[in-house]
């Protein structure tokens, strides 16, 4: 059985995920909310930055880049 629950930072390219919980502290937590990421939001991983360290995600029609430290504190479930 493959792992389906993971930190967002571990998601693979083109993976669709659903947010299970957001463990970020303020003010990052609020920033993430502002972009429309709350529990239950679905997002798609788009791609890695060439030197790593951050990835871009499609969230509610916009492309947002988030550093892996922050994305690591957003727990998601892989969906199909």
């Amino acid at each position: 059985m493959s792992i389906t629950v993971m930190p967002l930072s571990k998601s693979k390219k083109n993976q669709k995920s659903k947010v299970l919980s957001i463990r970020l502290k303020e003010p990052q937590r609020r920033r993430v909310f502002d972009l429309g990421i709350i529990n239950g939001t679905t997002l798609t991983t788009i791609q890695k930055s060439p030197y790593g360290g951050l990835k871009s995600y499609e969230i509610r029609g916009a492309i947002i880049a988030i550093r892996d430290e922050d994305a690591g504190k957003i727990i998601v479930k892989k969906i199909n």
């Binding site: 909310f33 429309g36 930055s49 060439p50 030197y51 499609e58 029609g61 916009a62 550093r67």
Partner: protein, 709 residues
């Protein structure tokens, strides 16, 4: 224009303009709000005709810009408030936006939504609707949305929000008339508005209504009571104190409201009230989106993703970035040559006529010597050397900005910046620095964290600005690329120039790292950046905007400093004590130290005299070698080369001069801007010393090593 806009147009100023009503026309104030990158400034410009610069990256409008238009005998004062994603966080931009909507008392608020990204954008619209019902929703970029096969049911959207909705395409002025009419109607209460509040669930709603009841009893509380109740329940201290300050009403201490709030807050022991608020709003936005927007083609972003996969991939991303940099410099260098020559010969022709004129009226020598050979010649040099590269560089750069490439640079390089303890957005401020370091310094405001903002500010000078390019290019031409290179000449020039700039970038990383390990220690902040859709650049507008807004502005400033500087230079070179000019005294004094770092007294003196504007450094060097006491233009690079060699220049001097040009104190304007931005003498002094000391150390090392070889 935004980059170099003089900021601090605060809310209060706008209020003053409203109060000065004239009898003939009615004045109305309209705020224009929206997420970053939704074409908000384009709507603003289209309505007002004011040329305000818009860029395709988040966080460009850092202070409110104002403009006005007249429609049906009413004067509408339009205030462009900073683009924000929300009004709930407490960043500087959001505070400005929130305070203006709350306390600036606009007669209406236009909320601009990006038609291609309605769902996320609705979040802000709903938050603004909590504050005021006098809202007009402007769905912008409607053409782009239709192209992407996104269809929006405007009537349904209007029904869901309870306010008028207008579709526009501000670039082609589509829908603007309707927007103006709608704004007028809302301002004059001619439209029926039936705002629908977001439902926060039974528990929270009951608490809200209890507090609101208490607030309703208070007099002179000129703010949406429901909204304030929510903020009280959230215990949002910043908003509460800002409300008390702005309304001059310490309602909290007068009544039993705090007691009620405390009681109600207790009911939510285990829940974060703000989370409930945020989630309710986002969920409502999602619901409205599903009701009003139909997308036929789910893959409408595929072409953007394809471009992204090329521009930000591991293999091609960075090489393309360097190639683009190379390309821009190559076009600038080659393209600037001819116009530079033409302008120079024109201006120097005029100089001869001026001299003829003075001689014909039998003027004594010193006045025309000061005016023509001192002031005019310096000006002519600055104009002819600076204008053509700027007129080419700025538009090219603005195209990259307009297309949406710059945020990708930040995305590509963020990890390198992170490893140096800096912020990915510093890539953007460095890019601005290529044009003008003072602009780069102002641009540092887009970095939220104060620590990383200071790093970006202090290191911005390591990116050579337009004023320093001429010196670099001239030295490269004279010492490193001879005519023998033939058609490849300009290519090699560009290559060397690009290497120097890459050196500057590497030094930026190293110095940032050192700063973040020493005086600017601290926690890394997060990096969240939107990568906006690629958009077709508006070539015509870019030309007008970058030439008028940036080129003329920067050139004007350069001229303003070059004229008095020309006078001082003339004086120092011509006032003689014991037959030796003041200039020579100083340069002789500086010479021993200058020799240590591979320069000579004259070069160092020229850098010091060039403090007002970097572009006059090289002319001063030439002038003093020629001992003519005024700046000269030598037509031919080879003649110039022999002049320099005759004064002891070697490859070592050339390299050290270029290094020192890359790394020395920021120019006067930049220092002044740093002082204004940091409001601290300490950081200004540091921003002055860091590049200077770095330059001295590196020049010393380079000089010593080359001597040994």
């Amino acid at each position: 224009m935004n980059l170099i806009k003089i900021p601090h147009l605060k809310v209060r100023m706008t209020k003053n303009t409203i109060s000065s009503k004239t009898n003939e026309k009615i004045e109305k104030t309209v705020a224009i709000a929206g997420n970053p990158n939704v074409g908000k400034s384009t709507v603003f410009n289209a309505l007002t005709g004011l040329r305000q610069h818009t860029g395709n990256w988040p966080g460009k409008t850092v202070a409110c810009a104002t403009g006005n238009y007249t429609y049906k005998n009413t004067n509408f004062n339009l205030v462009d408030i900073p683009g924000t994603y929300s009004l709930l966080s407490n960043s500087a931009e959001e505070e400005i936006a929130r305070d203006f909507i709350c306390f600036g008392k606009p007669d209406a608020v236009i909320v601009v939504l990006d038609a291609t990204c309605i769902e996320r954008n609705l979040n802000l619209a709903l938050q603004i609707l909590e504050l005021t019902e006098k809202v007009i929703v402007c769905v912008n970029l409607i053409d782009e949305a239709n192209r992407k096969k996104i269809y929006i049911d405007l009537d349904e959207l209007s029904l869901q929000l309870g306010v008028p909705v207008i579709a526009t395409n501000a670039r082609s002025k589509k829908g603007l008339k309707e927007l103006m009419e709608c704004v007028r109607k809302v301002c004059f209460n001619e439209t029926k508005l039936y705002k629908i509040n977001t439902d926060y669930g039974k528990d929270l709603e009951s608490s809200i209504s209890k507090i609101k009841l208490n607030l309703d009893k208070l007099k002179n509380l000129n703010i949406n009571h429901r909204w304030l109740s929510i903020k009280l329940l959230e215990n949002n201290q910043k908003i509460i104190s800002s409300t008390e300050n702005n309304l001059k009403n310490n309602f909290l201490h007068k009544s039993d409201i705090p007691k009620t709030v405390k009681k109600e807050r207790k009911k939510f022991k285990n829940k974060n009230i703000q989370d409930i608020v945020v989630e309710s709003i986002i969920n409502r936005a999602e619901k409205i989106y599903k009701l009003c927007v139909k997308t036929q083609n789910r893959k409408y972003n595929n072409s953007d993703r394809l471009i992204d996969s090329i521009l930000t991939s591991k293999i091609t991303g960075v090489p393309i970035m360097i190639l683009l940099l190379l390309g821009i410099f190559w076009i600038t260098i080659t393209g600037a040559n001819y116009p530079s020559e033409i302008i120079a010969s024109g201006l120097f022709w005029l100089q001869d006529r001026l001299l003829d004129f003075f001689i014909s009226i039998n003027s004594p020598e010193w006045p025309y010597s000061i005016i023509v050979l001192g002031v005019y010649r310096t000006l002519a040099w600055v104009v002819s050397v600076m204008l053509p590269p700027m007129a080419i560089f700025f538009p090219l750069f603005t195209v990259l900005e307009d297309v949406g490439y710059l945020p990708r640079v930040a995305f590509n390089l963020d990890n390198v910046f992170k490893k140096s303890g800096a912020h990915g957005k510093q890539a953007l401020t460095m890019c601005m620095g290529f044009g003008c370091n003072a602009c780069g310094v102002i641009g540092c405001r887009i970095i939220d964290s104060p620590r990383e903002q200071l790093i970006a500010l202090i290191t911005n000078n390591f990116v050579p600005c337009n004023g320093r390019f001429p010196l670099l290019i001239s030295i490269i031409t004279m010492f490193f690329v001879s005519e023998a290179f033939g058609i490849f000449q300009s290519f090699f020039k560009t290559l060397i120039l690009t290497s120097i700039i890459i050196l500057g970038i590497v030094i930026t990383f190293v110095v940032s790292k050192i700063l973040s390990k020493t005086i600017l220690k601290g926690v890394q902040s997060s990096f969240i950046l939107e990568l906006p859709p690629y958009r077709k650049p508006q070539i015509g507008k870019i030309l007008v905007r970058s030439v008028l807004d940036r080129t003329i502005f920067v050139l004007g400033r350069a001229i303003a400093v070059a004229a008095p500087a020309g006078l001082i230079i003339w004086l120092t070179a011509n006032i003689k004590i014991n037959d030796i000019s003041i200039f020579s005294y100083c340069s002789n004094f500086l010479n021993p130290f200058a020799q240590l770092i591979g320069l000579d007294g004259v070069i160092l003196m020229a850098f010091i005299l060039g403090f007002p504007a970097n572009e006059i450094v090289f002319p001063i060097i030439i002038m003093s070698y020629l001992c003519t006491g005024s700046i000269l233009e030598l037509e031919n690079h080879m003649a110039l080369r022999s002049l320099l060699i005759a004064h002891g220049w070697t490859y070592r001097t050339a390299i050290c001069t270029m290094l020192f040009s890359l790394m020395h104190f920021p120019c006067g304007t930049t220092c002044w801007t740093i002082k204004k931005e940091t409001k601290s003498l300490k950081w200004t002094v540091l921003a002055f010393l860091v590049p200077t000391i770095t330059g001295i150390i590196l020049c010393f090392l380079a000089n010593s090593i080359m001597k040994m070889i």
